[in-house]
Symmetry: D2
Subunit: 332 residues, 4 copies
């Protein structure tokens, strides 16, 4: 499948995953979770929003919690380098027929919201207020000591279409899963910042935000994150890991917040910069793509994710066989 109307290079450049905007039903509870269980830094609190960031980030926020009556993923934010990029993005989206609107977002420069062709709610931002990096305030490190927002994973009903759109915007595929013996894409790992992924699409009922990920310094931090999750009474909210993905070689831990939004903590990627590096293919039937060792994911890791407000969730174009699902979930 191709998306010819999208494959002209736009004039703007996405640089990284910037910030995630979540709707939460109890702001205090969510703030406490992200500050005390996860270890993020609270930059600012207002009546209707809480702004957080990782320990090394000098941007005002990489996470915004907004109050609402339902738990929702609001926007998946990406960064561009300048306001000119935003203007170019507007021209491009107009040309290719992508819904978009300029918004005023506190503490952010020029900000553009849009809906990608598979219904993901996105936000492009040109700049942000800066604040001091806390990376050398070691005495303030808590839990897993998350350093920075790194990437998103979105469940989509059409991985091919999502991939075509985003590679058309300059993202590059580093790894992918495909049905055995075919080129039928089941998952694509797309990057702009020079390591394996900033945005991932996997096959399933979508659009839904499966998780957003923060890096932690190392395996010890990941285990300490799990230990603190347990000692703070959230041990049952770990729905996968610790484990090692074959895909991107990541050491991971997934935790659900009080609204069941899912955060991944992981120990960063390998570098992916050179143009001659080929993307790595994994057959969807290969269990090592998902985990190199240890216990399988829980059922809820596979089937639960955060919906976007007002966005219908569609059945995936590709269907998993019952056998595949059992294999996902089997305990040896």
């Amino acid at each position: 499948m191709t998306l010819p109307t999208f494959n002209q290079d736009p004039d703007f450049a996405i640089t990284r995953a910037g910030h995630v905007r979540l709707q939460c039903t109890d702001l205090e509870k969510s703030r406490d979770f992200y500050r005390d269980v996860i270890g993020l830094v609270v930059t600012e609190e207002t009546d209707h929003a809480i702004y957080l960031r990782g320990l090394e980030e000098d941007c005002h926020h990489s996470m915004v919690l907004e109050h609402g009556t339902e738990a929702k993923a609001l926007q998946v934010g990406l960064r561009v380098r300048s306001e000119e990029d935003i203007l170019d993005a507007e021209k491009f989206f107009k040309k290719v027929g992508v819904e978009h609107e300029r918004v005023e977002a506190d503490h952010q420069g020029a900000t553009l919201r849009f809906r990608d062709p598979v219904g993901t709610h996105m936000e492009l931002t040109s700049s942000m207020e800066t604040v001091p990096r806390k990376m050398a305030d070691f005495h303030d490190f808590r839990a897993g000591a998350p350093q920075r927002l790194d990437h998103y994973q979105v469940v989509t009903y059409d991985v091919q279409e999502a991939t075509d759109f985003w590679t058309g915007l300059g993202m590059r595929m580093s790894e992918y899963t495909a049905k055995d013996g075919t080129d039928e894409l089941w998952g694509t790992w797309l990057e702009v910042k020079g390591n394996t992924h900033d945005l991932v699409f996997t096959n399933g009922r979508g659009p839904r935000l499966h998780h957003f990920a923060y890096t932690v310094p190392d395996a010890t931090a990941l285990i300490h994150a799990a230990d603190v999750t347990g000692s703070m009474g959230f041990g049952h909210e770990i729905d996968r890991g610790p484990g090692r993905h074959g895909l991107s070689n990541a050491l991971f831990l997934y935790i659900r917040d009080p609204d069941q939004h899912r955060i991944e903590l992981f120990t960063t990627h390998y570098q992916f910069i050179d143009m001659e590096s080929e993307p790595i293919r994994w057959d969807v039937s290969d269990p090592r793509r998902a985990q190199q060792w240890g216990m399988p994911a829980s059922r809820r890791w596979f089937f639960e994710a955060s919906e976007f407000p007002g966005e219908d969730v569609l059945e995936p174009l590709l269907k998993a066989t019952p056998a595949t699902l059992e294999d996902y979930l089997s305990i040896h």
Copy 2:
């Protein structure tokens, strides 16, 4: 329940878990596993036995692999301080009616085999040939870099009787599980060396050796052990972990060898020396006793263990309810 004939203090002192003797169906395959996947040091190989030790041990062996047609746990070895202790043990076992025999064991001093009242096959040893400690040969560290044999866990049909016998031999209970609201013992953690356990008994079909445990230096080593297990093709043989037990606060990983004997790697205990320290009680219904966070154990971790040759496996005196079992195994 009491065992009055056993509760007179013997004159010999057990000092630590010493060595485990396993019967394996393919010696080379088992040696390769313990050397390359687990990281133990091979001290010596003969036609019918392979001797291994941890990196910091100066004893000739803490593991003996012997060839046989069936996979069996042969002996669970404990150390005493001198030959005089062995003589005193013989007198004591004669007095209380425990089957025992002196044996010649290569590289070991005076060695006494006996069968405890619940059928566990044991071996007491007074001394062993010494070899250089490898703890400072950092360039030779492999996989989880296991340091030393630490403890055993035995499944027994009668936890109370096992506990009475071993506390009668000077072991001290550091933690235990009991049926909620009762003193009905489901598991006992017994120690002699000044930290939480050298010998553990848990309720189930027994006697069977559930696992033996080696210490690893830290959480990073534990994760590296899992990674090497995966990269060497044994990822599916991890049947529990990494995770954190409530009991003894251990960070654990369990791996099955080619004969399905189970080794635990863990990051050591807390100190337990002072007489005023009380044992910690856990209700058997409290899931946090088994894991503070993360995925439950696999079914095979609960139900599979190594039998002793010629020893009948008996149904446990205490019965788990189906609800309890489902709870053990449920994935949230």
Copy 3:
């Protein structure tokens, strides 16, 4: 040299290093240091004393800070198992002519103070009030997350005499330094709890307390301890490490408190239980005994230590050559 009057086995058994008692010139400043920079838990504060412990300890205190006009080491505390041991110790000290006195010490059982033959101020305690272990309160871990008091190092003018006395009390030598080609003892590592040392004596102007040591979980914790020491403004108070001793294979970090008392953080020992294990000898000229790699100790690590009140500091019987000292301190 021998000390024949001391080599009769006493009837009491020392079990471990128990608590250190320090005189500090500013209690609040010292408390803040040990709580916030080191990560100890404050059990209790009174007008004239502050009681602290490690995260896994269930004893009321392993450190007592007492206010005074001068910085002094007050007592080096060891544990015995029962009040009967204290009575036996009194008899023994009376017999061999060691000054001693029974004291009332808050939160402690029967307590006996004495002065060993080289002037070290000691305290034996039979029991202590217990408090909850904090080892599973991972969200409260700070800095290096020190787990427990482990051992002491005392500078003495007569290593031989100190060693004779303490081995006479049941301590066992695990490692030692000696002048090349001789048996002239320069340092002795003595243990009772089954790993390499509870009490160390090294040659120099003494008696002085060189340091007391707490264990930390792993290398990552040690580096985090250094990082927090730096970020809290005490980076210049690290006077040695991180580094690896040859002696006992310890990974170490030494930090001076506001009164210049010295604490060591280290990642625990190897096990030393079996009677056939020989002590390891290091020639005093071998630089690898002190560090396997990296930068040498600072001058103040070598020459500064805490004096005991009213106790004369004597010149060592063995003299270091200037060449040796330069070698200690040289930067390659």
Copy 4:
């Protein structure tokens, strides 16, 4: 100072540090060092060159060892994205008067050597043969498990001129040292790949290559690297660290190879992508810029570095005061 002829944007884009080319006096000895003490992977050996790479790299080499009678730094290699970039670089260097030449380099695409205005010998490469990444072969990890080449530090007699040239080529300053109260540059940390540095210039006798750096996974790997360096007999070749720089917040270890070329192992950077992030300034008199805690660098770390063949070493334009130097080296 400005370099007006250089400040026109070139049409080519440097993407990262690519490979370092070292002249060694004993190829086998150097290979053994980098493979066994450092843990690099040997991709290929020929009679006159040895090619190595980090565990996650899919490029044929990030280090080339070439035999010669003297130890020299040959080339500091950078990557561009395509052959077209090489053509554009040639045009640009011709225009601005930088000596350059196209060379045939085995296993590399189009390769251009040039000499920057302060005499650094550089090599631009458009592509390289790819080989499998070893990042998931955990059983083959050795020593510090170095993952990838990351950056270079060059000592130069004119930091300002070097900085003007390289920022003219698209590099961006993330941090810098300057004489207190002035804008006199003493060191500049320049980046292209989105974290703090790919190329660093510091004031001193130059041009000389001070070190090249590989990332290691974490603090534990860094300590293990030091331990293996010690156990392999190279402990005295650590000339700085482990320690924490203020500059870039790096946890570092510096080791000299058999020819005294210096490799840094470090635990990677913080991300530096957003245009609004300001470079961090450090006064050259602030000791925390160099180390947040612990022992100072050795004298040889400050004064020794690898020369480029045929290139005169010039005295720095800025002079350090003796007081500053003593401060650098003082042991508290």
